[in-house]
Symmetry: C2
Subunit: 211 residues, 2 copies
């Protein structure tokens, strides 16, 4: 833990997700938003945990490259990059973001009346002039949807909420109308498991909520 | 279920809670907000489930009185009143809203590092010129807080978020930073278990999300 005399490093969030931005803001942190420009390609040979660990690591590494390329104050001083990746897993299949309306309807039609898992990988890189240190964690939660009619699914998809979200739903938005039960961390399902994230950031010297 | 020719009744939400208002808005419903003016007095002889059932019922009944007193269109036509009450239970004690800063700190100091339960009672009254029908449900969820330092608790309380909330925290706000895990419905913990609420409202003829 840093002494009071040590200032908190610059935090860089490697994500443009409004949900992740909101979660990090709620921690009272100042940070820069610098999304990676990576395509999220899933390697089918990996387990779900390996997929999110791999993608979160790749996003963090790519943002560190972007920071090096642009130079400037962040590239020189102590900074910490926070990246995450979230997927939905059902019957062994990895469900990412839907490609279109029909894809979202097909995904939700599989998930309703059933329990699925949500995996999030979190990867942090702490960079200063002496060293580069990385830490990562994986978290899993279970989500149970109630049964939905075809018209309920179609109406939900037509709200557009599902379109940019892994598994085609948002826990904290309109999607709450179909969630019977979860087992795990709500912030994990939203896209950034906060308790683990706080631990990782503190290991990198980021000061949060008075410690 | 009503036929397409039957119009949806007027919905009245017997709560001024911004969280409940947001949850009902997300269902795509139009509704009037008419809080009851009841003091939430807990009868210590009741079980937690009985307490929330009793308070939700009292709120709904009081709002029906208010509607009758003012007369007008809602009092004449078919209307449905939706009321809810949420409490936190830990080691057999019922924790309601904190009375001041010290009370909030004392509540959170008990809850951190432990698992507590959240009870919500939902009560609906359907009123038309032929009949008055009431339905109610109770739901329970478990919440596990991580361990927090005294300064983390004090900083969280100083954010003011805990001050108007049962158990002195919000699941969906800054409070997410201390939640390890939940088991149950997130909307229950926020103050209105949506799946049960949708079932109750539909029993009263309220049309939701295309049924």
């Amino acid at each position: 833990m840093p002494s009071a005399a040590v200032s908190s490093p610059n935090l860089v969030l490697a994500s443009s997700s409004p949900r992740r931005i909101e979660l990090v803001k709620n921690l009272g942190l100042k940070f820069e938003i610098l999304p990676s420009d990576l395509d999220e390609i899933v390697n089918p040979a990996l387990t779900p945990g390996e997929v999110v660990a791999d993608l979160a690591q790749s996003k963090a590494a790519r943002v560190q490259e972007l920071i090096q390329e642009r130079g400037g104050a962040t590239a020189q001083g102590h900074h910490v990059i926070l990246a995450a990746d979230t997927i939905v897993v059902f019957e062994g299949d990895i469900l990412g973001k839907p490609t279109d309306r029909d894809h979202a309807i097909a995904m939700l039609t599989r998930l309703v009346g059933n329990i699925h898992e949500v995996y999030t990988g979190v990867h942090v890189i702490s960079v200063n002039q002496k060293e580069v240190i990385a830490h990562h964690e994986i978290e899993v939660a279970k989500v149970e949807f109630r049964q939905l009619s075809a018209s309920e699914i179609a109406n939900y998809v037509d709200s557009k909420e599902p379109m940019d979200k892994a598994g085609s739903y948002a826990l904290q938005g309109i999607g709450a109308f179909m969630i019977n039960k979860i087992e795990g961390s709500p912030s994990n399902i939203i896209g950034l498991p906060l308790v683990r994230t706080i631990n990782l950031l503190r290991q990198c010297g980021v000061q949060i909520m008075g410690e």
